[in-house]
């Protein structure tokens, strides 16, 4: 483990993991309260299209995720897609078409460039593959996201719990909803850098849902979710680093695998605590 703290990619991975965990934790809590988990999932999947397109254009995939994430989120809000929830043929078909198109772009990526592994980088991500140059942009977007949530905290919480009450208090519910969903789009792109587009839901929704099982107070939940996210990303980085000597490949197990497994474990742990508390209380 002596080389762990001296390694450049590890530094970047630790910082990127922290940014993603904190911002996802904060925004994730509101996503879960508002029942928009599925929108987050759809935005992640659609990010595949943006990432593969950006890769083809020779741009860092992250910018593809952000552009598509924000644009699609705004469109989704305008058409009221988020109200239809997950069980919808239309959403699935649109996602299918987008993923089909992404398949084509990825195919071009692999045939036109000499760098292999675009598919892995975009779909499954890797904290170790984050380029140090992307880091300032990620931190900047993360800070903007946190400031937005802080400014919008009251109206956002009020409109999440009761839209009617918020409207009666003079909150512009539609505007708050639009800004928030665009924010989710941006956060999902940050999370896609860490664990890839099709796994990005895990970091957005997992720690937040776990935190909301443990506490009902939103501010506490935000803190707990961020901490759980940190445990998952940093734990993933450490385990992945340690796994370099593990069988069967001795090349290290993918960091994204550890991160999502830790997220699931933390969620199940929180469920267990919530269940035990309910029993003790009954």
């Amino acid at each position: 483990m002596s080389g762990f703290f001296a390694s450049g990619p590890v530094h970047t991975a630790v910082v990127a993991g922290a940014v993603v965990a904190v911002v996802s934790g904060v925004v994730g809590v509101f996503t879960v309260i508002r029942g928009q988990s599925f929108s987050g999932h759809a935005l992640g999947d659609l990010g595949t299209l943006g990432g593969s397109g950006a890769f083809l254009a020779g741009v860092n995939p992250f910018f593809g995720y952000v552009t598509v994430g924000a644009a699609v989120a705004a469109t989704m809000d305008l058409f009221g897609v988020q109200h239809r929830r997950g069980r919808d043929v239309a959403t699935g078909i649109v996602l299918g078409a987008a993923l089909g198109l992404a398949a084509l772009l990825l195919y071009f990526d692999t045939t036109t460039s000499t760098t292999t592994g675009a598919t892995i980088t975009i779909l499954f991500g890797s904290l170790f593959a984050v380029s140090p140059g992307t880091l300032p942009v990620m931190i900047g977007l993360g800070v903007v996201g946190l400031v937005l949530v802080a400014v919008l905290y009251r109206p956002l919480l009020l409109s999440s719990v009761s839209a009617e009450l918020a409207a009666a208090r003079g909150v512009r519910v539609r505007t708050v909803g639009l800004v928030f969903l665009v924010l989710v789009g941006v956060v999902v792109s940050l999370s896609a850098v860490a664990v890839g587009t099709i796994l990005s839901t895990a970091l957005l929704v997992g720690p937040a849902a776990a935190a909301l099982r443990l506490t009902r107070r939103p501010l506490t939940a935000v803190v707990v979710a961020s901490v759980l996210g940190l445990v998952a990303t940093w734990g993933g980085v450490v385990l992945s680093y340690a796994s370099a000597t593990w069988p069967p490949s001795h090349t290290g197990w993918p960091v994204s695998f550890f991160v999502v497994t830790l997220v699931l474990a933390l969620y199940l742990g929180a469920e267990l605590v919530g269940w035990a508390r309910a029993r003790a209380g009954a």
Partner: protein
Amino acid sequence: MGAGTGRGVMFSGVMATAWVTATLVAVVAGVVGFHVVVRGATFAAHAVPMSAFAGAAGAAVLGVSAIAGLGVVSPLAALGVAWLGRRRRTDVASALVIVVMLGLGALFLSWTAEYSSQVYALLFGELLGVSTQELAATAGLAVLAVAAAAVLHRPLLLTAVLPDVADGRGVSVLAADLWFLLLVAVVTTMAVPVVGTLLMFSLMVGPPAAARAVARSPRATIAASVAIALVTVWSAIALSYVTDWPVGFFVGILGAAWYLAGRAAAALAARRRPGARRQPAALAA
């Protein structure tokens, strides 16, 4: 991806296997997809193939046929979906389980020599995804699935459309749900090597959704669904062969096109007969 077999042999050699496999896949996907749409079971159509990715990846590590891995994991995933559905916890818990199954698949494939191309093939499908040796297994599964769907046709339909009546007649809704999910598992096992995990949904849902717009009776809808699925995979294979582009691209785009066409046809029919709302296909039995 790249077939590399040259232009003159689109229907011979390994390509013959591709055509036969695709035909079998389309027939079964068309039939089972009808029940997916009637039951509104889009979550199962999404979750089972996604989870099965880990099975196909595990098979690649062990050096056995992807169909063997899918055949083991798909039924387990189907049972998991049934269990989660009964507990009404389909939201966060199931999303996380699916994500971990995908992550597990990525882990397995990272142990294989051709990591990137394997991941790509299993997620987006492959023209020559089923080898000639695996053709017998695929055909066996197809016969099994179509026979099961024929035998289960009435109970599946009844439990989907009129669960109360089914209950009164002693038809178990739970049993029907389980049989249905096992059918989804069979389609997944057959189809994932060809169309890929991420695009199974398009093939299973696009054609029947369009078929419902043009056909009345359940039987006619199933026939139309199979016909549209056949056109989808045949065109996908031919286009993929000619352009060398991925099969999944064509399946995803055609699935969406069929769905849109179906919606447009339904809207047009509704406008022509104002007031006369079209009955759901399943009720017109």
